[in-house]
Amino acid sequence: MKQKTLSMTMLVIVSLFLLAGTRLFAVEQLLRGFGAETLTQTFSQISQVITGDWQRLGLEFTRLQGKIFWKLYLAAMTAVPVLFLLHYLVFGPKTFSHEGKKIAYYASLVRLFHWLAAISFTLLAVTGLMVIFGKYLGGGHLIMGARLVHIPSAVVFTVSAAVLFLCWLKDMLPTGCDLEWFLILGGYLSRKKKPVPAGKFNAGQKIWFWLATIGGLVMAYSGYYLFAFNADVNVLRGWAIVHNFLGVAIVTFFLIHLYMSVFVVKGSLKSMVTGFKAEDEVAIMHNRYYQRLEK
């Protein structure tokens, strides 16, 4: 029951995002229907035809793009690593023996697509950030190139994310233990190796999964509009805002993912290469899954 509610909520949020642009467009169409009587009305009618209701989204976009987005990205890119550095120094990594039994964790197909997704996503993130901070890189061919790399990377990522979505969907559905996991923050704020309440994937991974797949889909969808420019300008503005905000979230979680898999949980990276996880790692970090396997 709980699972259903959660996934429904997510669906609603996503569809709201998707609809946002189209709805704005429709309202505008309605506004255009009225006749002009005064010169002021004429002026606003003309403006409406030229660039939609600039005062609303245009102004907002200008403010966000001019003043906010780059700061958010900058914050994400500096604050997150700093926090992690502190975390690393305080709590250190989680190391497991890797000597014992190996558990087959990732099928080869999954690994293939994970790495495709990883590479394309890295490219997306890097080139995206290059565009955001283009002015410090001088613009021109370099950034234009970054923009051009961004496009095929998006295609590759969308395909591989879709495959991963299907492969992992079952394991990624929210479960009761996710709440418990949140309560202890996955046990990362402790040096102890207490079993963590998590299935095959813990709640953190799940967030990342949903963000990367559904969020990725929204990114791809909005990105398509930003690429093709085949919509009303107000719709474009809406998508640009969505793309950038979501981008901050995704980049942030991408950094977390990177930190977790490379630094915190030692061997995690390797498991995505070989497909096997050490038994003690699974026992601690994915306790519920381990219990199910034991049965």
Partner: protein
């Protein structure tokens, strides 16, 4: 310092597209790129009005604010120009612009947009004055020759005015006074905010 501005008189514009074609022919703008266009509302009904729109060279230009690579800059005389060597064609300026001015040619790679193109106030671009490169990328540099932009100069009914903001505001004010009706010039509030 003279501040360059455009002003289109909605009572005078007859939708003849002279400005559009003057711009295209003079600057050899490719087909499909509209540095200037004429917008008509209520066509065929009482209240039909037309106006010629291009980059207004805003004070505090939103396009400059959103450009991620600082390709767009404003000269001291207020003319807003784009450096096509720096522009990456991201299209943000188009979204920020209240006048729909930025235009993008279709690029060769993946059909992605090329560098932004827009009205230059016939002031060419950052390339050397009158150089072949300037002509190819930006068109004529009439301002450097001491000549007004083609669109306004060739306006059939003198609806479109271009030049020193104070002077054209005076011309327009006189017209409004003579007509005994009227309001501020279209787009000025948004573009210049009294500056």
């Amino acid at each position: 310092m003279a501040r360059m501005k455009f002003l289109c008189d909605v009572e005078r514009c007859i939708d003849c597209n002279g400005c559009v074609v003057a711009c295209k022919e003079g600057n050899q703008v490719p087909v499909g790129i509209n540095r200037r266009r004429v917008v008509t509302i209520n066509a065929g009904r009482p209240g039909e009005k037309s106006i010629s729109v291009a980059c207004m060279h805003c004070s505090d230009a939103p396009c400059i604010a959103v450009c991620p690579v600082n390709a767009i800059y404003q000269r001291e005389d207020g003319i807003v120009l784009v450096n096509k060597d720096i522009c990456i064609g991201c299209g943000y300026c188009f979204m920020a612009c209240p006048f729909g001015a930025p235009q993008f040619p279709k690029g060769d790679t993946f059909g992605a947009r090329g560098a932004m193109d827009k009205c230059t106030f016939c002031a060419g671009g950052p390339a050397k004055d009158f150089s072949e490169k300037e002509r190819r990328l930006y068109g004529q540099n009439r301002i450097a020759e001491g000549k007004p932009p083609l669109c306004a100069a060739m306006c059939a009914t003198k609806a479109l005015l271009a030049g020193d903001g104070d002077v054209i505001a005076d011309i327009y004010r006189k017209r409004v006074f003579r007509r005994g009706s009227g309001a501020n010039a279209w787009g000025w509030e948004r573009a210049y905010k009294g500056r």
